[in-house]
């Protein structure tokens, strides 16, 4: 009895010293270089990013700086040249549903309906744990969460961009991931639709407390949604330039925030960072 307490205590202590263990998911010393004809082309240079459980972290930077590459490494879809990803104390080097991805271009399977697209994921992840009726319920429940329960029988080609992305989010949520990875999920949407989806995401995050890593190039979006914004420098050899903790109370409301000086402060800080980068590197 005493032995186990002591042992646990020591284990916890070691974990504390190691650092990463206090976090749900972390990228440790990630570097990535592609081989080209001109030799090695460095994309990411020594990126370390640690995320606590329930934290919403955005990564912003100019297009082409390697943000999406970093997310794909978190997802396991890309392997870093150096470094690794640790999820709950264990290194992960292949993709899995516990790190569900919301892809930039929704990536719904066009031959399946809205319901079937989500059900495919539910069947795969919960095929053994849940009965058929439970899986049906769970599929419908997740589509309801993104307000898509009226379009179960529709095919992706019949949906607008915003609706497709709602289904993409429902599919990812339905996997009950430990970390939700979002790769510029609203980048291709018009401003109104984008705002609606951000509200959906706020609502879901408030209800479930998901751990989220989101790539975006929209400072407003990052400030509205995140607990922390990581600002990436330009490639080649991009790394995290500055971290910005967003200390705004939740639940957040986009209209109320407009007149909030703190919100303005964070927003201008983010914009200034991106602007400085651009000046340093000249126009793209």
């Amino acid at each position: 009895m005493i032995d186990t307490i002591v042992k646990n205590g020591v284990a916890a202590q070691i974990r504390d010293q190691q650092g990463p263990a206090r976090y749900l998911i972390s990228a440790e010393n990630i570097s990535l270089a592609f081989k080209t004809k001109q030799g090695l082309h460095p994309v990411l240079n020594d990126v370390t990013l640690r995320i606590k459980k329930g934290e919403f972290v955005s990564i912003i930077g100019h297009s082409g700086c390697g943000k999406s590459t970093l997310l794909n490494i978190f997802a396991g879809l890309l392997k870093p040249t150096v470094g690794g990803v640790i999820l709950e104390d264990k290194e992960v080097d292949s993709p899995g549903p516990e790190r569900a991805v919301v892809f930039q271009n929704h990536s719904l399977l066009p031959w399946l309906t809205v319901y079937e697209n989500v059900r495919l994921a539910v069947d795969k992840v919960f095929g053994r744990k849940k009965s058929k009726a439970e899986r049906d319920d769970w599929t419908r429940y997740n589509l309801k969460r993104v307000h898509m329960d009226q379009a179960l029988g529709k095919y992706p080609m019949e949906l607008s961009g915003g609706m497709k992305q709602r289904v993409g989010i429902a599919r990812a949520l339905a996997m009950e991931p430990k970390a939700l990875l979002m790769d510029e999920p609203f980048g291709a949407l018009d401003a109104l639709t984008r705002a609606q989806l951000q509200d959906v995401l706020l609502e879901i995050h408030a209800a479930l407390g998901n751990t989220v890593i989101m790539i975006t190039h929209d400072v407003d979006e990052a400030v509205l949604l995140s607990d922390r914004i990581m600002m990436m420098t330009h490639g080649p050899g991009a790394t995290i330039g500055e971290a910005l903790a967003i200390d705004l109370p939740r639940p957040r409301n986009r209209i109320d925030l407009l007149d909030d000086p703190a919100y303005q402060h964070y927003r201008s800080k983010g914009l200034r960072f991106l602007h400085q980068l651009q000046r340093r590197n000249g126009p793209e």
């Binding site: 549903p97 994921a121 080609m157 609706m163």
Partner: protein, 308 residues
């Protein structure tokens, strides 16, 4: 507050839905570009009338005109250069005779044209099904594995241009049966388009679908069943449509060589009896069945087509 939010969002959905239906409506005329092009050729005065009935009438009229011209040319050639050819009228009389009793059966060497046709269709069905059953898995493997593709490609490239009829002697030698040999020839005809189209379909699969499969940790078989097969199905069906068209052409030639029964043999037999009118009737029938097969395959293909 929360109620307000969800109300706004519900409204958003309906807005988007409206937008989606609008988009759908706008994209409708693009569904079948070939047909549109045909319409663009039609004379200007029809465009001004513009009603569907008038367009239908105009099209039917043009088609009738084409056939009338073809029969006119046939008539002219027959009367000026080739008096041995039957006239269109004689051929028509023969057609009425033939189709009045398509399923008569006077022993193994004298059967109605319906039987001949069914035997040919049966052989095509057998050879074609075999080719599909063998060709799709091979195509999936060739498309997935670069090593296998590189190893098999030269062999496929060498065998593909060989006329299927060249296989007939070898088939006769191996199978020692006329029927099996004809089926084998159809199999060889059909398999190349199926393999090549399936493989190119696999190669064209969007990286997005593979990423989804990776995140869901699909195993090899699940991957083939749930992603590979549905994603490549339109390509596979294209291959099947192409090969069925060629198979229907090849069966006539194969049966001419193998004899026995079948629409190809029928033509050869009528040639030996110098019943040229029957041959022309059979040609018309082969063409009609060809169109039917093509239409059926087109329907199936459209059913499984998907759009991103």
């Amino acid at each position: 507050m929360k109620n307000n939010l969800s109300f706004a969002m519900d409204d958003g959905v309906s807005l988007e839905q409206r937008e989606a239906t609008k988009e759908k409506g706008a994209s409708k005329p693009l569904v079948c570009p070939t047909k549109l092009n045909l319409n663009a050729v039609k004379p200007g005065y029809l465009k001004s009338i513009g009603t569907r009935a008038a367009r239908m009438f105009g099209r039917t009229f043009c088609v009738c005109l084409t056939f009338a011209a073809a029969i006119g040319v046939w008539s002219a050639i027959q009367s000026r250069f080739a008096p041995d050819l039957p006239t269109p009228a004689q051929t028509w009389t023969r057609a009425v005779e033939i189709f009045s009793e398509p399923f008569y059966d006077d022993g193994p060497n004298d059967k109605g044209i319906g039987w001949q046709l069914l035997y040919s269709l049966g052989r095509v069905a057998a050879g074609f099904s075999l080719a599909v059953a063998v060709g799709i898995p091979i195509g999936l493997i060739v498309g997935t594995s670069r090593l296998i593709r590189q190893s098999l490609d030269p062999l496929i490239q060498v065998l593909r241009p060989v006329s299927p009829l060249a296989w007939l002697p070898i088939a006769l030698l191996v199978f020692k049966s006329v029927n099996a040999s004809a089926i084998f020839v159809i199999f060889i005809t059909s398999i190349w388009p199926v393999i090549l189209n399936t493989a190119s379909g696999v190669a064209a699969i969007s990286k997005d679908y593979l990423n989804v499969a990776a995140v869901l940790r699909f195993e090899r078989l699940e991957m083939a069943r749930k992603i590979l097969l549905p994603a490549t199905l339109p390509h596979i069906l294209t291959g099947m449509r192409l090969s069925l068209g060629i198979a229907w052409m090849v069966i006539v030639a194969a049966e001419m060589l193998t004899g026995g029964i079948g629409i190809g043999f029928y033509i050869w037999d009528e040639w030996n009896n110098l019943n040229v009118a029957s041959i022309i009737v059979a040609m018309g029938l082969i063409g009609g069945v060809g169109i039917l097969l093509e239409t059926v395959m087109n329907r199936i293909q459209r059913r499984f087509q998907y759009h991103d």
